[in-house]
Symmetry: D2
Subunit: 336 residues, 4 copies
Amino acid sequence: MIVILKPNPDQEQLDALIRWIKGKGLDIDKSEGTSQTILGLIGDTSKIDTDLISALDIVSSVRRVQEPYKKANRNFHPADTVVHVGNACIGGGGFAVLAGPACVESKEQMEGIAALVKECDAAVLGGDGFVTRNSPYAYRGLQEEGISLLVEAGKTAGLPVISEIGHISQLEAFKDVDMFAVGARNMQNYELLRALGQTGKPILLRRGRSATAEELLMSAEYILNEGNPNVVLCESGIRSFNTYTKYTLDLSILPELKLHTHLPVIADPAEACGHYELVPALAAAAAAAGADGILLDVHTDPMNAKSAAGQHLKPETFKKTVAKCKAVHECMKKEA
Amino acid sequence: MIVILKPNPDQEQLDALIRWIKGKGLDIDKSEGTSQTILGLIGDTSKIDTDLISALDIVSSVRRVQEPYKKANRNFHPADTVVHVGNACIGGGGFAVLAGPACVESKEQMEGIAALVKECDAAVLGGDGFVTRNSPYAYRGLQEEGISLLVEAGKTAGLPVISEIGHISQLEAFKDVDMFAVGARNMQNYELLRALGQTGKPILLRRGRSATAEELLMSAEYILNEGNPNVVLCESGIRSFNTYTKYTLDLSILPELKLHTHLPVIADPAEACGHYELVPALAAAAAAAGADGILLDVHTDPMNAKSAAGQHLKPETFKKTVAKCKAVHECMKKEA
Amino acid sequence: MIVILKPNPDQEQLDALIRWIKGKGLDIDKSEGTSQTILGLIGDTSKIDTDLISALDIVSSVRRVQEPYKKANRNFHPADTVVHVGNACIGGGGFAVLAGPACVESKEQMEGIAALVKECDAAVLGGDGFVTRNSPYAYRGLQEEGISLLVEAGKTAGLPVISEIGHISQLEAFKDVDMFAVGARNMQNYELLRALGQTGKPILLRRGRSATAEELLMSAEYILNEGNPNVVLCESGIRSFNTYTKYTLDLSILPELKLHTHLPVIADPAEACGHYELVPALAAAAAAAGADGILLDVHTDPMNAKSAAGQHLKPETFKKTVAKCKAVHECMKKEA
Amino acid sequence: MIVILKPNPDQEQLDALIRWIKGKGLDIDKSEGTSQTILGLIGDTSKIDTDLISALDIVSSVRRVQEPYKKANRNFHPADTVVHVGNACIGGGGFAVLAGPACVESKEQMEGIAALVKECDAAVLGGDGFVTRNSPYAYRGLQEEGISLLVEAGKTAGLPVISEIGHISQLEAFKDVDMFAVGARNMQNYELLRALGQTGKPILLRRGRSATAEELLMSAEYILNEGNPNVVLCESGIRSFNTYTKYTLDLSILPELKLHTHLPVIADPAEACGHYELVPALAAAAAAAGADGILLDVHTDPMNAKSAAGQHLKPETFKKTVAKCKAVHECMKKEA
């Protein structure tokens, strides 16, 4: 951590600051520039509150040098993490497809889609029972029954299943679900993250709509800190000034995260752009950008989907999209 | 709701769409332009999923005409709502000051600040017991004990109290707290909003960092829909490309919200900008922009505050800032 | 264009509005909903000012149905435009590589890089003579001499050349340059766009940092309207809240633009992310997302590059990146 | 400037870097932390390219400590700059109103509005002759004739005049205009800034839609560096995800700029929000936030304004808004 002082700091306040820092068990390296003095804090600064120091009258600004996340940090854990979900795995060089309808609607719907997803060698079957929408008047899904239908369809097809959990009180309903999805709205719902961390099960953690890369990794850190290493990060769109898509898919965060963390990273292009026509191109782009996998919304009858209808691929497009993603992923792995 | 069709739509699909819409109990007004056909949907469209329709091959785009929020909508409830908190009230022409430290640290701290806050005629005393930070390693506050100290300090000073609730499991600890604050991270934690709605107590609902005005009102709608009309909206900064402040205070939303909703609206400049030096100017600006009140972080010893130290006003600046805000508020109310 | 009226509009004002609209040669389709009345304006509304109408007391909002760009619009020009630059072409199914150093530094530098670029089958050689930086104290390039060195290097290598023009007064210096680049800062410098339009030469038009897709197409329209159809659009990063990259590469705009315009679209990942380590992944992602080509900064001695040093690929990485992009492009074109 | 090295840097590369830095006339303070080494560069680093250093394999990141603007920097010029425009002045404790129609339409229009503006004690009369719109098909104003009408109306009313200049070629037409306005689109049109700097006349420099505070000050630096100290900065809205206003007025930049620069700062709420209904509240908020003045669009017949019709205040609202702004400004100046 670096503390940049204002010009000509009051000596008494400076002495007090230095005593305070040393009281935290840190050493100080003082560098006197021509116009500014800089204090370098040496030691473990992860528990120092930068706000505290920047509030001082003599301080111009404070900058962290070390990243505040530890367990998610590639520096301290260089090898890629591979997350196992049933027989499937995410990370470690493969390309995992997680697919299903946005929400579970019926036994027939799930069986049809599960068979299709299985046919395309997808890794995980998805579908939400507890549907969350901005409006209190919107469709809320089949709730517990939806989760049961998903689990059943997964068993029949021989696929592990994933579903979004919105609240700790739903944990019991998820007992046979193989992987939790945490929605973008809940990326900083730390009570939920802690509770999920304690289950030890794999967790897909979506990036919040205005979360920085560091904030996403700090949320992962909440889970890892509970002793659960099975975290998959998911870029699913940030809020920007663009209105031609629902959110803006930020593919740059894929290679960026790969530099900073050992956790697998996947993308959800449909959730980001909100429109099926853009999904095939963006899914392939995610594969090229280094994603460890992709989330795809697929429906045998998109027109009658009960949620997020516009995001679903039709079966034929789904098959082609999966094939393209895998081909691009292979292409990127080949020696040039 | 308006459905704009692509040029030369397939007649069969168009007929199917028209049947589907009529099946929802809506009438249709069809307008044939020179290059495009538009369907106007007449009736209550609040439960129609725009995604469903925009997913159709023959549809170019879908636009809502009616606002999707009902109970928060000024059109259906023209008179300003006044929210009562203990003896204080927010909305209805006055200017309410809600103030306290970011977090409760000790009995002495709370007593000193409560006296100061009372002296300035503030309406509500605040302070968090359950402190939420991005890092799992950060200070988490005094928890239940913090809430008790807040409640006690409020009683001694004769002030109602507000504190941020992060999770339903904390409800019991908040039984003597007069007003709940919902943090920006929780603006779309609908389970929490529903549970708080059911308490009937006043709720301060902070805008999420990337929430639109409509999304904020839809979250208020979740609370109102539980039969609880006591919602105060709070602008506390949006995420923009600016890095010179922590978030960007969006004061335009104050007059904008006043046009669309009857609920009181206040601002939290310190939480938005993150730096005490900017707070006095922005607090006065919020008063000028039409805020029904203001949230201010104040501390008798900011340097040793345990959370958000850099956001706190010192007592002298706090007094002046409150006086300025009230003077500006009066100035705005006077006939020109 | 659709005009949505406020509830219970004043009849006199409504009559005045209807007369005004009809005076513009438009027909009106009036649709009376249960709570709102909507006017559909039928005819060529491209010259109607939406501000004018939305300013009226009786109007709630105004929405365009037709896109305001005509010559850039795929609806009126379904076939892909192919832009020819010397012997190379951009658009029409191929994948064009435009490459060179950010700025021209010397004859030796340009010869070395030109040979490398030629060896990789790039389409166009680039390099700026007039360097534009945020600081008036920064290096401004070799100016006219830089352009001469670029032209000469292009001739020797047998490659057409592109360079960024910042001002009309530089036109004379660009007489032997094959393609103009317009920088993001100049996307809405309409005087410059008109002047370049009149030259008839190919133009690479970069998207402004906060330009919408529509604004970009309206800027293209300025050029097309001068009778110059040779416009290539370029996504080079938008400003978002992300700080881990210089700008945020918005690849979604590639498939989105392809739906709306017939003009070729390329991407500049290095300019967007600002860091060479992310470029290979993002370049391949752009190819997968449907780019007609890519701009790459390459330098034989990046450490001593005089501008944008951190964005340059080293020769070996450049070669691999070009090969990957072309392989991904081929992969996307294959039948599934 | 601080250079943060990656862990275990290659010694040879480190020696080369140190030699390179010393070759630029800078001293180095090396600080060895437990996990990272930091180089503090001591001396004038304003001409060092941070990109150059961050491109090195051994460097993790580079951070500036000194601000890159010099002439605009309050540290080197503590006293507030006052800009004189005719008999009026902007900055120095007063509150200047700059007002007029968005565009000049006729002699009668300008005379009516000028009289109104004069009556309200405004400092400067505005109005554009060269109108710039996103569409090549939109109204472009009366051009030179518009400027003449503005100048004439100013003379009659005894008011200095301001108008937006879009291009150097218009300079001759502006010879009797007292103050240049530079539009948001042109904030980084450095050729224009240099040319205007050389005129020595007062310049209103609008912030670009996605410009940071530093970028705005660097653009001011371009003008100041030509020997022209008469720069007034203007916040007129940034692009954010908000769509309920045209742009988002960022009032926090007012007190922020006041900390960093001695130049006067004003706000243009109508240009930011795009809708007259929000202007009175936001104008007063700008005054409270510390603006040295305000730009207001006013029209005697807004419905028939030829440009930006929806942004204009009607005469009565204009008068009240000016009065409120001045009252709030006075209120802020009083001792608490």
